[in-house]
């Protein structure tokens, strides 16, 4: 069956099977391999994307459920070849080690900061609670989200 959806601002029409997951659609059909599969059970958060302004584990969403939806993946984050402030902060704070959790981690950070540009440390932890990282121990990831919040806030104020 055919579905229509918008991925990273681009309208796409994709032929899918009933059992195709949103994760497979992104990785196999659209070649957006930045979204990772760690467990296939919605536990690890490596496959996190934003669907209709909400975080989803794309391994738990069937492709047909994404019909007419708007999806943002890690590939949709850097606009006009400039890194998003969250991406910059993850690099600068040394928050990236093996990197496999990072696309999901950054999508969760984006959703958090889009909803709340002033998160407390507890709110950051809650915002990232669906994403497992096995390398870093989270300290530098939390630092990165704090720095990104700070940069995004001051950028927002400059715009005013």
């Amino acid at each position: 069956m055919k579905i229509n959806l918008t991925v990273n601002g681009e309208k796409r029409e994709v032929e899918v099977k009933p059992q195709t997951r949103l994760l497979d659609l992104l990785r196999e059909d659209l070649d957006l391999t930045g979204t990772k599969e760690g467990c296939g059970k919605g536990e690890c958060g490596a496959c996190t994307v934003i669907m209709n302004n909400e975080l989803v584990a794309s391994c738990l969403v069937l492709a047909i459920q994404a019909d007419q939806s708007e999806i943002i993946t890690i590939e949709g984050l850097n606009c006009q070849d400039e890194l998003h402030p969250i991406q910059k902060a993850f690099i600068n704070k040394g928050a990236v080690q093996c990197g496999f959790c990072i696309p999901g981690m950054i999508m969760s950070s984006k959703q958090l900061l889009d909803e709340n540009i002033n998160p407390t440390e507890a709110e950051i932890k809650r915002g990232l609670s669906g994403n497992i990282c096995r390398c870093t121990g989270y300290v530098k990831i939390i630092d990165a989200v704090k720095e990104a919040a700070h940069k995004m806030k001051s950028r927002g104020e400059d715009d005013d």
């Binding site: 990772k36 760690g38 890194l83 096995r134």
Partner: protein
């Protein structure tokens, strides 16, 4: 000398490719005309494979081939330290844990490969399943590796079933009998730790391609011991090392789990057999069943201490459950034993350690390599001793802590960067510990 890097913050060279999702982990690669692999694994942890019927599975539309041990009769066993692991279990031989491979199913899609795998019929003769290393070392326990000749030393108790003991080690420093005679208090306990999965977020996965012009196999997979894996793959399939190229992709975490061969040999065989690109991605469950774990250890610790709180003697016996295969087992139990006293000064030490075969998933390398299990035992001993002596546990640790010049259980004199006392001071500070230490 100018400091170019040390003491300076250097940005990770591949961080940008990772925050943009461009870094390529094994399963992110794409090959045209690629086939998909699923592995049929053991159906029982300890059993003789009587028959393997792949005829029904082969008939499924889209199945390209199913490889069994019959197709490659000359394969050699493989393994990190000791080559005791079969690539594919032969008819009449034993499966020794649930991860043993029986057949390599190759199909046009992953879905078809999975369907075909479920159609394979396996006939087995069940044997006693040994999950407890203490059962494995009983004289009447069946040998898990029947043709294993044993590597035990004379130090090991002769009443143990050495057929299931992979390797043993012995440690002696000072005079442990004298040390226990000098002790005012002796505490003896047994500690047990459990299997732990390293759980790197990226499961074992990879691609392989056979280049018939060069007679060369290329494997794209994440590996911790690239060249050892190359050599192991080569010897197991009887090709020269130069004919095996392993291309390191981005590695999605490993923590010891990717020291062992996983997808590599099966990929190589499938590529050789089909002459097409092949892909194999483990599921999380498969990764947990088929690849290494942190060794569960049984640690029997006996510690002597003087009434004013100084350690006089320490003896330890460490039994490691190495599971069905050796992997890093001989080294893990060795290192664990050497760390039996942690960062504390003890003049008189004696230890034995051994790795025992069972039918559990094999133990391998994981962050700390045997030392974290030991920490659970020695820190528990320290707490119990402090409590019995009625000394503040921080003070008790502090007055026994390593300093520059301390000698470790294996006789290494610590020359520099001995920060145990500073660490204890920081912990007291950070934990807002109310006891006081007498420096």
């Amino acid at each position: 000398m100018t400091k170019r890097y040390v003491g300076k913050n250097t940005l990770k060279i591949d961080a940008e490719s990772k925050v943009t999702g461009q870094a390529q982990y094994p399963s992110d690669l794409k090959f045209d005309n690629c086939l998909h692999i699923k592995i049929k694994r053991a159906t029982y942890p300890h059993a003789i494979l009587k028959d393997l019927d792949i005829s029904g599975a082969k008939k499924i539309d889209g199945v390209v081939d199913i490889i069994t041990a019959k197709d490659f009769p000359d394969l050699n066993t493989f393994g990190l330290i000791i080559k005791d692991q079969e690539v594919l279990i032969k008819i009449g031989e034993k499966m020794k844990f649930m991860g043993d491979a029986l057949a390599i199913v190759i199909a046009e899609t992953e879905e078809i490969a999975l369907k075909a795998r479920n159609k394979i019929r396996v006939e087995i003769e069940k044997l006693e399943v040994i999950t407890d290393p203490l059962r494995a070392i009983e004289k009447d326990a069946p040998a898990i590796h029947e043709d294993f000749s044993g590597l035990c030393t004379d130090y090991l108790e002769p009443n143990l079933n050495q057929k299931n003991i992979l390797a043993d080690h012995y440690l002696k420093k000072g005079d442990v009998k004298k040390g226990f005679r000098e002790a005012d208090l002796i505490v003896e306990n047994e500690y047990r730790t459990q299997h732990i999965d390293q759980l790197p977020l990226q499961n074992e996965s990879g691609y392989a391609l056979y280049d018939d012009k060069k007679d060369e196999i290329k494997i794209w997979a994440a590996s911790q011991w690239l060249h050892d894996t190359q050599a192991d793959v080569a010897q197991s399939i009887n090709m020269s090392k130069e004919k095996i190229r392993i291309i390191q992709t981005a590695i999605g975490g490993a923590f010891g789990k990717k020291e062992d061969v996983s997808v590599h040999i099966h990929l190589a065989l499938a590529a050789l057999h089909t002459k097409r690109p092949v892909k194999l991605v483990y599921t999380r469950e498969e990764s947990m069943i088929a690849q290494s774990k942190r060794h569960p250890l049984i640690i029997k610790a006996k510690t002597g201490v003087s009434s004013n709180g100084y350690l006089t003697a320490w003896s330890v016996e460490v039994i490691g459950d190495t599971g069905a295969y050796a992997s890093s087992g001989p080294a893990v139990v060795h290192k664990g034993m050497y760390h039996c006293t942690g960062p504390y000064n003890v003049e008189n030490i004696e230890g034995t350690s051994y790795a025992v075969y069972t039918n559990n998933t094999y133990g391998g390398a994981m962050r700390g390599f045997g030392t974290t299990q030991m920490a659970f035992a020695y820190e528990s001993q320290m707490d119990i001793l402090a409590h019995e002596l009625n000394i503040d546990p921080a003070q008790f640790r502090y007055q026994n802590a390593y300093i520059t010049g301390s000698v470790t259980p294996n006789g290494q004199k610590l020359g520099k960067s001995v920060n145990t006392k500073r660490t204890i001071e920081s912990v007291i500070d950070l934990a807002k510990w109310e006891g006081e230490i007498n420096k």
